[in-house]
């Protein structure tokens, strides 16, 4: 057997490689740099890596090839858009993560111990979150462009492992945070096992582990579809788990609530883009020809997800949990884009993911700012009267909520419109109706929060809004601006997506 020397297209892999390099440098800094300078150098490296990665991506935005990494990476328009979205969201989220108030001083210390107190007094910081975040981002960048199942699996784990860890790093309510990490990890690993089994069956079905190989088998398979469908089902469990679709959603409220808010924002936004990117790629590229078999199930899951997320969110009392359920509902809406299985569905999904991701980071950014003496205030009842105390902040939060609710003149509306029209165009009337109804339900709890902030008198319980750091301010401002601009004049982005978004096989 002749050894084929591997050839990698480094330009196309550069975005990922840069991020990985940044992460490695970060690890080295952890190892060798003096503690005092770690934070600033980490922040710098991280930002630099992300921006450089974005720039590298920009360089190759018009290229597309299946040979970027020996067939393991499909570099195409849609991939570029997913990666760009992830990077933008990541940059915004890094500003939040940089606010170390969110993180425990010393992860190894027992909550409530002297050691922890001392660590806080010594102003210790878990600067490892920066390289961890970069690793996660690298995984996320890889996930939607992976074109064979190994890469897909490795990317999945690569984006998950750092998130499992970081979910447990909250500064306050550490027991909850650690619990979140444990739950996220156990359930994540559980879902990964299904994912892996799915890979096994897809491989068994097609004899190939590349997406295009599977597609060929789907088109021209000689046997029956049992192995294919088992593979689709099991791999879907893993993927739907990541996006939080019912009934694989259960982790998300708990983890969203327990994790440090900055991480919650990051993972809610970026993971969703990455995971949906992968879902879209797999279903569009590999499974498209078997659509009549999986589509009904996907429609049902989408509907249940929308309705469940919206209905349960109504009763939530904690802002992060509410946003978690809201993100479940949004996962349902996004599944409509998968079901659409058309170019317009893909475009709509990308727009929706970007718009939703940016708004989510912004919303969680605001959540980090509402605090009392013991940390963030999640209880919605204590958010009442916020509009009086900090009108600007409350208005911005209201803007994000309106975007989530899909009110016109916000990005959420354009997203919702385009994704539902795509779904309806491909014949899914039920999705359209369910989407509209659950949007109506969802509107209720978004508006309830607005009412709380603006129309209820504040309770004097020490809840206050801290003055945001410059970085947090940037995140929130940019998110709000993007949300608004994409609501008012989305044409440039939509056009760009329309000209760019394609999957190559």
């Amino acid at each position: 057997m002749e050894f084929i020397a591997p050839s990698l297209n480094y330009a196309q892999l550069a975005p990922m490689l840069i991020v990985l390099a940044g992460a490695l440098i970060g690890v080295l800094i952890e190892a060798f740099a003096p503690r005092a300078s770690r934070f600033s150098s980490q922040l710098f490296i991280t930002l630099f890596a992300l921006v450089a990665s974005l720039a590298a991506l920009f360089q190759v935005r018009n290229q597309s090839s299946v040979d970027a990494a020996m067939g393991s990476v499909a570099f195409d328009g849609a991939g570029v858009l997913f990666q760009a979205s992830i990077l933008v969201i990541a940059i915004l989220a890094i500003f939040l993560i940089a606010d170390q108030e969110n993180f425990t001083a010393l992860a190894a210390s027992v909550p409530g111990s002297d050691e922890e107190r001392e660590a806080v007094q010594a102003d210790l910081r878990v600067t490892e979150v920066f390289p961890l975040t970069l690793f996660a981002i690298a995984g996320m960048l890889l996930f939607p462009v992976a074109s064979d199942l190994i890469t897909l699996f490795v990317a999945l784990e690569m984006l998950s492992l750092p998130l499992y860890l970081m979910a447990g790093l909250s500064r306050r309510r550490r027991l909850m945070s650690q619990e979140a990490a444990l739950k996220y990890f156990l359930l994540g690993a559980f879902a990964s096992a299904f994912f892996l089994l799915g890979i096994a069956y897809l491989y068994g079905y097609s004899g190939s582990i590349t997406l295009s190989g599977i597609q060929e088998s789907v088109v021209g398979g000689a046997g029956n579809d049992v192995f294919l469908l088992l593979g689709v089902a099991f791999i879907s469990v893993g993927l739907l788990f990541k996006v939080g679709a019912v009934p694989f959603h259960a982790w998300s409220p708990d983890v969203y609530q327990g994790a440090p808010t900055a991480i919650t924002g990051f993972m809610a936004a970026a993971t969703k883009v990455a995971a949906f990117g992968a879902i879209l790629r797999i279903f569009y590229v590999s499974f498209a020809n078997a659509e009549w078999q999986w589509r009904p199930a996907m429609v049902i899951i989408a509907i249940i997800t929308m309705v469940f997320g919206s209905v349960v969110a109504i009763t939530q009392r904690d802002v992060k949990r509410m946003l978690a359920y809201s993100s479940i509902a949004h996962a349902g809406f996004l599944l409509a884009g998968v079901i659409a299985l058309s170019k317009s569905g893909l475009e709509a999904s990308i727009f929706y993911l970007f718009a939703y991701g940016v708004a989510t980071v912004g919303a969680f950014g605001i959540v980090t700012l509402v605090r009392d003496s013991s940390g963030e205030v999640g209880d919605l009842n204590r958010w009442s009267g916020l509009g009086k105390r900090s009108p600007l902040l409350a208005s911005t939060f209201a803007l994000f909520l309106l975007a989530f609710a899909g009110i016109p003149l916000t990005s959420g509306f354009i997203g919702k419109f385009s994704i539902f029209s795509a779904a309806y165009e491909s014949g899914s009337t039920s999705i359209l109706i369910a989407g509209v109804l659950s949007s109506a339900i969802a509107a209720f709890f978004y508006i309830r929060v607005i009412v709380l902030m603006f129309f209820k008198d504040s309770v004097e319980d020490g809840t206050s809004v801290i003055i945001p750091s410059a970085l947090t301010t940037i995140t929130i401002t940019v998110s709000a601006a993007v949300t608004l601009i994409l609501g008012i004049y989305p044409a440039p982005l939509i056009d760009f997506i329309a000209t760019t978004a394609t999957f190559i096989r």
Partner: protein, 99 residues
């Protein structure tokens, strides 16, 4: 004998592992059950590799082992952390977050 028998075995082991995740309370045992599931998946891969006559399945299985090892490191670290905070490794005790 039919190589499919390995698939049946893997399916059974996978199911047993999945049940273990649901019924066992000790986080470490739960995690071991997940490992069992991964192993079942690996067996499936190896079997399919044999059926298909390609080594890709074995490569996947190999990667799985590596990934699983990483997962074990992270997972056990998390479990140890939570054990130190709570003096308990029961997953049921970690139920502050709910509803």
């Amino acid at each position: 004998m039919n190589p499919y028998n390995y698939l049946y075995l893997a399916a059974l082991l996978f199911t047993i592992g999945a049940v273990g995740v649901v019924v066992r309370r000790n986080a470490i045992v739960v995690f071991m059950c997940i490992e069992l599931m991964l192993n079942a998946a690996n067996l499936t891969l190896v079997t399919f590799s044999r059926i298909n006559g390609t080594l890709d399945g074995q490569v996947v299985a190999f990667f799985t082992m590596v990934v699983a090892a990483c997962e074990v490191v992270v997972g056990l670290a998390i479990i140890v952390t939570i054990y130190r905070s709570r003096r308990s490794a029961s997953v049921d005790d970690a139920s502050l977050l709910k509803r």
